[in-house]
Symmetry: C2
Subunit: 105 residues, 2 copies
């Protein structure tokens, strides 16, 4: 069976745990997460995912924009949004939006 170019590319990527290339954006300053993402690329990652939920989503967009515009301008960007159901401390169920911005070399 022939192996496609895409499969060869996949195989050539460095072996890493699934979450190694994910930067979870929370309430720290934007530049903390920018630094974390840049560090991942400098460590040889070809793709870094910037994830956030709720009010941190706008900061995640800031992080991706700063990484792309100020540091690594030839990155490709793919964006997905979704809804997660979470349960708070009073056991109420809440829907919260999430964003995943994939930056690829």
């Amino acid at each position: 069976m022939a192996i496609s170019t895409e499969e060869q590319k996949q195989a050539a990527r460095p072996v890493a745990k699934a979450d190694d290339n994910v930067v979870f954006v929370g309430k720290k300053p934007t530049m903390s997460y920018v630094l974390a993402a840049i560090t991942q690329f400098n460590n040889g990652m070809k793709e870094v995912k910037i994830r956030a939920r709720g009010r941190s989503i706008s900061r995640a967009v800031d992080v991706a924009e700063v990484v792309k515009n100020k540091f690594l301008s030839n990155l490709k960007k793919e964006i997905e949004t979704a809804t997660e159901e979470i349960t708070d401390e009073r056991k109420n169920k809440l829907n919260v939006s999430t964003i995943t911005i994939s930056l690829k070399m």
Copy 2:
């Protein structure tokens, strides 16, 4: 010259100003913008763009998620982010992130 199916579809769309199908998300409650977007679709629009910048980006994601998950589940979603330079009242230049979420029938 043959007219492609895509061009026919374009021609069949109702004539409208460029910004007619844009919902700008600001600081009002999420459901105000959800209602605005649903109304656009009910008026015959095939595509509605949900736009926001800065801290309102997370609310724009909420709006798109609610429209898709609670009302019109077969919509297709395309997301773009960008950076705009704005000048504040003291004439300082600031970069602000923007998001445009296109929802298509």
